[in-house]
């Protein structure tokens, strides 16, 4: 059979092969042009709003009505940033938000890693049923739990302990960080079910021998986890930490529910247009009752600047971790 195959190869005329190669090359070239056109086009769609905001941020007031200006402003200025930062009370706001988000992210990562490891490596009565319930927590819409959770944290009382000792009907935890911290520490925060799933899939794929070796060397269960398993779980950790950080940073649902009055960026951004409308005339020196209205385009400019200030930390974070992020998703066994 092999001999007849080579026979046929010899019979093919030389020009024909050459033609074939040329045609292949042109179609490859055409395809790669098409691919670049697509990739660049989609990238443009994604980046365009961002570029627009950056351009607006550095644009001077007198450039607003100049129709000849496309992206690059004629008069550069940092006034917009100053004004937007003033309207938002930016730096304290940012510090506060970062502190809060970092705490919940770390707690979420720890509790979800523990749960994921527990589900991946141990069999106890009902372990499979419980894992199905983890998936269930992903599927139930958050709005279903909203009212009971709100009332629960309004008079928080863990199994009646507070009532037992003080005789009061629980403590009001609304407008404190505690509701989010408690849900994060108990692996029940934002999309925690998904994180547990990611960790479980990863730990399931790790070789058992590593653990056994650690056990024989005399390490206990938690020590094995902390010293051996977790340091090897860098990829799912990065994925979970980044997702958790970003989703918590952007979250308005739980923040508005539990901490509507707390200084958090996500809440501030949502009310930014109204605030800018109200505050800008004042900041420009008109009295609050003077009935002066700021130029709506100028307000829009400040709002855009404020939005850019709000998402800037995320973009900077992403610039640093995006390589690990994409790689880690590929290896974290999200697919499993």
């Amino acid at each position: 059979m092999a001999a007849s195959g080579t026979d046929r190869m010899v019979v093919v005329p030389k020009e024909n092969v050459h033609m074939h190669r040329v045609r292949n090359k042109t179609s490859d070239l055409l395809y790669s042009i098409f691919r670049y056109a697509l990739v660049i086009g989609i990238s443009f769609i994604i980046l365009y709003p961002l570029f627009l905001k950056i351009s607006v941020t550095f644009k001077d007031k007198q450039d607003i009505y100049n129709p000849t200006i496309y992206m690059i402003p004629q008069h550069f200025t940092l006034d917009n940033i100053k004004l937007a930062a003033q309207v938002m009370d930016y730096l304290p706001l940012l510090a506060n938000t970062l502190l809060f988000v970092t705490i919940t992210t770390i707690l979420t990562a720890i509790s979800c890693a523990l749960a994921g490891y527990g589900f991946a490596r141990f069999s106890f009565p009902g372990s499979n049923v419980l894992f199905v319930l983890v998936i269930l927590t992903i599927l139930v819409p958050t709005s279903t739990l909203m009212v009971p959770m709100y009332l629960h944290f309004r008079s928080f009382d863990f199994i009646g302990i507070i009532h037992l000792f003080t005789g009061r009907d629980g403590i009001n935890l609304l407008n404190t960080y505690w509701p989010s911290i408690i849900t994060a520490a108990t692996a029940g925060g934002l999309k925690a079910g998904l994180f547990i799933y990611i960790f479980r899939q990863f730990f399931k794929g790790m070789p058992k021998e590593i653990e056994e070796a650690a056990l024989i060397d005399g390490a206990g269960g938690f020590r094995t986890f902390a010293r051996i398993m977790l340091p090897n779980a860098i990829s799912p950790l990065i994925t979970v930490i980044l997702f958790s950080f970003v989703w918590q940073y952007n979250d308005t649902f739980y923040s508005a529910l539990f901490m509507s009055e707390s200084p958090l960026i996500s809440l501030k951004v949502a009310s930014l247009p109204a605030q800018a409308n109200q505050l800008i005339p004042q900041l420009m020196g008109f009295g609050s009752n003077s009935g002066m209205k700021a130029d709506p385009n100028y307000v829009a400019m400040i709002v855009d600047t404020g939005i850019l200030l709000a998402i800037a930390p995320l973009i900077i974070l992403y610039l640093f971790v995006q390589r690990y992020f994409v790689e880690s998703i590929e290896r974290s066994g999200i697919v499993g």
């Binding site: 100049n66 490596r121 279903t144 629960h152 408690i182 925690a192 308005t252 247009p273 307000v299």
Partner: protein, 299 residues
């Protein structure tokens, strides 16, 4: 000295329980309890009292009110389920397509990936809300529209419609495609996680399969439908479910439920609404899951 000697197996079981105990505590007190309470609330009239609340059992009245009495709820519910059913195929198609694209080797691939996942980071309902409010400001002034032409999609939609219908596509398809084009940013920005999932799936397809197909003379088109598609098909189900759940987050229904609870203080009605929503979503998930799982190829 340990007084109770446990077998290795039950010691392992206890250790496992210890690992999941934070989750388990949270699950019981912050998931199951609220879930059961929510059912009770939906069947009652709830009034907030100092330090707690008072329940009045009213049966199915809240559910009746949500469907028949409330002026907008049933329309919003149907609308957002409809929008979801339209969105899911678009997002799915786009994310599979993009993942295949990003999985190929070309110069600048790392950068392209970084850009394509940017929307995952930047997708924020707060920013979207502020943006649309800013846009209304911009559009409030006629002279502003002139200067902000570059802000909108300024290509001619009519010409696309005419071109596609000249080709002979049925109008329903044309509408669908045009709508997809008009909302391309929305689709791109809500398919980041789905692209990641598909990309991870594509990476796990062994390269030797493509080599064999190439030797056998399969075209790229054929090897996509005969290898890539069957290999990622289990993830299509995952992605469909993820997309459906993800569409809860900023949906008008959630907003309506929130308003009912905290603006009009009608907690019972709000719970009933959220249960109707949960049931509808559950039904959609079951139907979609059932249909898809019959067609999915597992290896």
């Amino acid at each position: 000295m340990r007084t109770i000697r446990l077998s290795l197996k039950s010691r392992r079981a206890l250790l496992g329980l210890a690992f999941i105990s934070p989750w388990l505590i949270g699950f019981i007190f912050l998931f199951v309890t609220p879930l059961l309470q929510s059912i009770r609330f939906s069947l009652s009239n709830l009034s907030v009292a100092p330090g707690g609340y008072v329940l009045d059992f009213v049966g199915l009245k809240n559910f009746k009110d949500a469907i028949l009495v409330d002026a907008t709820f049933n329309r919003i519910l149907l609308d957002s389920v409809g929008a979801m059913l339209l969105n899911v195929p678009m997002i799915l198609f786009f994310s599979l397509f993009t993942a295949t694209l990003l999985n190929q080797k070309f110069k600048g691939r790392t950068m392209a990936r970084a850009i394509f996942f940017l929307p995952v980071i930047l997708a924020s309902s707060a920013v979207a809300a502020a943006e649309s409010a800013g846009l209304i400001n911009m559009m409030g002034d006629a002279s502003a529209i002139d200067s902000s032409v570059d802000g909108g999609a300024s290509f001619n939609v009519v010409s696309i419609v005419r071109m596609l219908s000249d080709v002979g596509l049925p109008m329903a398809y044309v509408d669908y495609i045009v709508e997809a084009i008009m909302r391309i940013y929305e689709i791109v920005s809500s398919s980041g996680v789905q692209i990641l999932i598909f990309l991870a799936a594509l990476q796990s397809v062994p390269g030797s399969m493509y080599e064999v197909a190439k030797i056998e003379g399969a075209t790229a088109y054929e090897s996509f439908w005969k290898i890539t598609f069957p290999m990622v098909s289990p993830l299509i189900l995952t992605n469909v479910i993820y997309t459906i759940i993800d569409s809860f987050a900023g949906s008008p229904v959630t907003e309506a439920i929130y308003q009912t609870a905290f603006k009009t203080q009608n907690f019972g009605l709000s719970s009933a609404m959220s249960w109707l929503y949960t049931i509808v979503i559950g039904l959609v998930l079951v139907v979609v899951g059932w249909v898809l799982s019959r067609r999915v190829h597992y290896n």
